[in-house]
Amino acid sequence: MIFKRLFSVTRSLKDSLILIEGSKGQINPASLSTVSAATQIGEPITALVVDPSIAEGAAKVEGVTKVLKTGKPYEHYLSEQVSPLLKQLIDGKFTHFLISGSSVGKSILPRLGALLDVQPLSDITKVIDGKTFVRPIYAGNALATVESTDGVILASVRASAFAPAKEQDAAPIEEISAEAESGNSAEFVSEDLVTSERPELGSATRVVAGGRGLKNRETFDALIDPLAKKLNAAIGASRAAVDSGFCDNSLQVGQTGKIVAPELYIAIGISGAIQHLAGMKDAKVIVAINKDAEAPIFNVADIGLVGDLDTIVPELTEKI
C-alpha cells in the first residue's frame, strides 16, 4: 500500500503539462507539434486548455492522458492572467511544461519562468532527454545543445521541427477551479486579423514566397497569388517585401517572422539574406527563381532557375 502510494507520487511528479492553444473549437496546429515534442520526453502528458471550446479536441490528441480545462475562457491568453494560473498548477506537480513558440507562447512562457524562478528554453527543435534539448541560436546559424539545471523544465517548441500529433480515443477531461490572477494586467482593446483562403503559413505543406524582386504590390498579387492557389500553398514574404507594403506583416518568413519547414518552398525574387534563410532553410525542397545568378538563395536551393520572374512565374503557374 505504502509502496503503491510512493509510486503514484513519483509518477505524478514526472508528468508534463502542456498548454494547448486555440479558440472557437479550433486547436492551433502548433500545439499539436508541441504534444509530439512532449511525447518524446516520454512522461504522461496533461493538457491544459484555458478556452473550454477546445477541451474535447485536446482530449483526442494522441499522447494526451488527461485534459484540464478552466470553467470560463481566459480571453486573448493575456500572459498576466495565464502565467499565475500555470504557476499554481505546475508548482511541485509537474516536471515539464511545454508551450508552442507562437506569439502567445512567447508572451506567456518567460513570465511564467520569472514567477517560478526558472530559466526557460525558447524554440526547442530536438529533445535529447528530459533535461537536454537542442535549440537554434544566431538566426539558425548555430545549433546549441543545452542542459537545464532547473528543477522544472520550461520550454517553447518550434512547430516546424516536430510533426503534429495524430488523433486518439478521447482522454478524460477534468474541470479545474482557476482563480490565480496577477491583479495587474494589460487589457485587450481590439484585434485585426488577416483573413485568407490560403492555408496558414506556419503549418502549410507548400509555401510560395515573394521578395523585393516583385517590385510592387500589384506584381506580388498578380504573380504570387495564382501560383499559390494552383499549388494550394500558403503565401510568404521576405522582410523587404513586407516593409515595401507588398503584403501583410504576418506573412513574413524569417528570424523575426514565421519559421516554416514545408515540403516545398518556392522563393521568388528573394535574395536570401541570413535572416530570411533562418525562417525557411529546413524546408524539404527549396526552389529559387531569381534574375541574379549570384544571389545567396541559390546556395540553399535544391532547384534554381535564373531569369526574369515576370515571364517565368506565369509560365510555371500555367504548366504545373
Partner: protein
C-alpha cells in the same frame, strides 16, 4: 506620484546582424575575436521609440536612461545610445560570460527600482541567443503589465496603448503605467547619431557598476551549453534552364 515617464531602455551588445557567425574550434560557442559588434537592432528600435515619445510630447517624459549588462566593451553601445539622445546610462560590467535572460531580468529589476522607472521599452529579442524572454521576465518579476512585439506605442495620460504583431495579424492592448513594452521590427526606423552629438555624448553620465555593487557575487546561469554546432549543410542543388526542366525536377524530387 507624477505621471511623467521615466523610461528605461535596456540595450545589448551583439555580433553585428550582417555578419555570419562562425562556430569556435572547441564547439562551445561562436567565435567573437576580431568580429564586429553593434547594438542589437531591436534595442536600437526601442531607444528610437523612447526618443520619439519625448519628441512628440516633451512635457510627458522626464528622463530616458539606457542600461547594458555585459563586458566593459558594452560601454561603446551606451555611448551610441547617449549620442542618439538618452540622458544617462548604466553599465553593469559582468565580464565576457553570457548572461541568461532570467539573470538579466533580475539585474534590470534592481536598476528599475533604483531609477524609479515607470516605462521599460526594450527589444523583443536579441539576435544572438534569439530567446525573446527578458522583457516578459522583467514584467513578471515586477508584476507589471506587459505588451510584446509592439508595432505602435501611444501614451495617453497614464495609459499606454500598444499595437502588437501577433500570429495572423495585430491586436491592441492597453495598460496603466508602470508597464513593460517589447518592440518589433516595424515600429520605427532608428536614427543615426550625428558627429556633434557623438562628441557631446562623451560628457553624458555613464555609471559603471560591478556585480558586487548590486550585492551579488556571481551570475547563476541555469542552462549548461554542452555544445554548439553548425546546422547540417544542405546538399548542393542544381540549376535548371527553363520552366519545363524545373517542373520535371520537382516531379523527380516528389515535390509535386
Amino acid at each position: 506620484m507624477s505621471n511623467k515617464l521615466k523610461i528605461l531602455v535596456p540595450v545589448k551588445r551583439v555580433i553585428d546582424y550582417a555578419i555570419k557567425p562562425r562556430i569556435n574550434k572547441t564547439n562551445t560557442g561562436v567565435e567573437t575575436k576580431g568580429v564586429k559588434f553593434s547594438i542589437n537592432p531591436f534595442c536600437d528600435i526601442a531607444l528610437e521609440e523612447s526618443l520619439r515619445l519625448r519628441e512628440k510630447t516633451p512635457e510627458s517624459v522626464e528622463s530616458i536612461h539606457a542600461v547594458s549588462i555585459g563586458p566593459s566593451k558594452a560601454q561603446d553601445i551606451l555611448r551610441t545610445a547617449l549620442a542618439k539622445g538618452a540622458d544617462t546610462s548604466t553599465l553593469i560590467d559582468v565580464g565576457e560570460e553570457p548572461v541568461e535572460p532570467l539573470q538579466v531580468a533580475k539585474l534590470l529589476k534592481k536598476v528599475v527600482e533604483d531609477k524609479k522607472s515607470n516605462l521599460i521599452v526594450l527589444g523583443k529579442q536579441a539576435i544572438d541567443d534569439d530567446s525573446n524572454q527578458t522583457g516578459q521576465m522583467l514584467a513578471g518579476l515586477l508584476n507589471w503589465p506587459q505588451a510584446t512585439n509592439a508595432s505602435k506605442v501611444e501614451v495617453k495620460g497614464d495609459e499606454v496603448y500598444v499595437t502588437r504583431e501577433i500570429d495572423g495579424g495585430a491586436d491592441v492592448l492597453k495598460a496603466k503605467l508602470p508597464m513593460v513594452v517589447s518592440v518589433d521590427l516595424r515600429l520605427n526606423e532608428p536614427r543615426y547619431a550625428s558627429l556633434p552629438n557623438i562628441m557631446k555624448a562623451k560628457k553624458k553620465p555613464l555609471e559603471k557598476l560591478k556585480l558586487k555593487d548590486l550585492g551579488l557575487d556571481s551570475i547563476e546561469n541555469r542552462l549548461k551549453v554542452l555544445k554548439v554546432e553548425e546546422p547540417p549543410a544542405r546538399q548542393a542543388g542544381v540549376k535548371v534552364e527553363n520552366v519545363d526542366q524545373l517542373i520535371e525536377k520537382l516531379k523527380e524530387l516528389k515535390a509535386l
